[in-house]
Amino acid sequence: MESADLKLDGNALGGLLGEIFVSEMTVARSTCAACGAVREVGALAVYAQAPGTVVRCPGCDAVLLRIARGEGRIWLELRGVSCLELRTGS
């Protein structure tokens, strides 16, 4: 099976990111640190088959964020995101 078959959308991250953030994260806008593209999290490419979850820019394929969980903890690496814009609801 090719990795293209395993791709999901950022929409699939809603539950996991909902454990971390109070905002609805699938409509948060992230800026790719590599190519500068700004997209809603729901439109990002997600690979959830690894031990952790890897999120890539659908434009340039750079890794935007990585999430791992276990032992009652969550690790969130945001190195590939230069800006995350959240809705505050007010």
Binding site: M1, A4, D5, L6, K7, L8, D9, G10, N11, A12, G14, G15, G18, E19, V22, E24, T26, V27, E40, V41, G42, A43
Partner: protein, 257 residues
């Protein structure tokens, strides 16, 4: 005091908590698909297109978690999940075969604000479904009907055979009604005798015939297996649809197990 107030407010705002859902009724849809009508105390309401996470815990503590789209429109008090049983699945065989009325399991939601539609989102509404990918799109069509929306809507639904078409009667009823959506099927493996509709996997030509050139306000939602979604989304963009208005929900190579 102040600290308590802040924590309380954050707690109230936390969007998703695990809740206990109770099965009220199981409705068979096709030989492999059933709809679960659930009572979920404390359910905050939802928007068409959202999903829930379901978590099952074995006696030894092993947990399996999957996402399922909500089939019910925003107007429904019940949470309705339509689940396809996958033979090698960890979660779906339990939900479709083993669960009995009154049984309870954990879910959290509603989840997602991206792959959603309500009448305020406008349209025309262009929907492309592959197999059980029809579920969140059905929630949108049910919501559209419930509010009497006159936003034009079209559903292109790819299924392997007529018996695998989920919601067939309801779709035909909705499609045949005044102001109802246009419903177009393509049957990729088995077709009834005399079938004059599409008989192949979706492609650019089919998308062009069904959806045509995009209206500037068109909203497209595509849901299905990963490869299906890629073909449909790329095809719509090639027709001139704004990529930011073509929203996709891939459910991976094997569906939602």
């Amino acid at each position: 005091m102040a600290r308590t107030a802040v924590l309380g407010r954050l707690g109230a705002a936390a969007p998703i908590a695990w809740r206990l859902a109770e099965l009220v009724e199981l409705v068979p849809e096709t030989p492999r698909v059933a709809s679960l009508l659930l009572s979920v105390p404390g359910w905050p309401g939802h928007t068409a297109g959202q999903h829930v996470d379901v978590r099952l815990t074995a006696q030894d503590g092993y947990q399996a978690q999957r996402s399922y789209s909500i089939a019910a429109p925003a107007e429904s008090e019940r949470v309705v999940l339509t689940v396809e049983r996958l033979e090698d699945g960890e979660v779906s065989p339990f939900l479709v075969d083993d669960l009995r009325a009154g049984d309870r399991f954990e879910l959290r939601g509603p989840i997602g604000g991206y792959f959603v539609w309500d009448e305020g989102s406008g349209g025309p509404l262009q929907l492309v479904a592959g197999g059980s990918g029809v579920v969140p799109l059905m929630a949108m069509l049910r919501h559209r009907a419930a509010v009497g929306s006159d936003v034009p809507a079209t559903l292109l639904y790819s299924a392997r055979s007529p018996e695998e078409v989920i919601y067939r009667e309801e779709l035909d009823r909705l499609g045949g009604g005044d102001g109802g959506p246009q419903v177009v099927y393509t049957l990729t493996r088995e077709r009834p005798s005399g079938w004059t509709g599409y008989d192949r996997r979706i492609d650019g030509e089919m998308l062009a015939e069904v959806f045509g050139r995009p209206d500037a306000d068109a909203m497209a939602f595509v849901c299905g297996p990963t490869r299906f979604v890629e073909v449909a989304a790329d095809g719509l963009v090639a027709l001139g649809y704004d990529p930011s208005r073509v929203r996709t929900e891939r459910f991976g190579p094997s569906g939602r197990s």
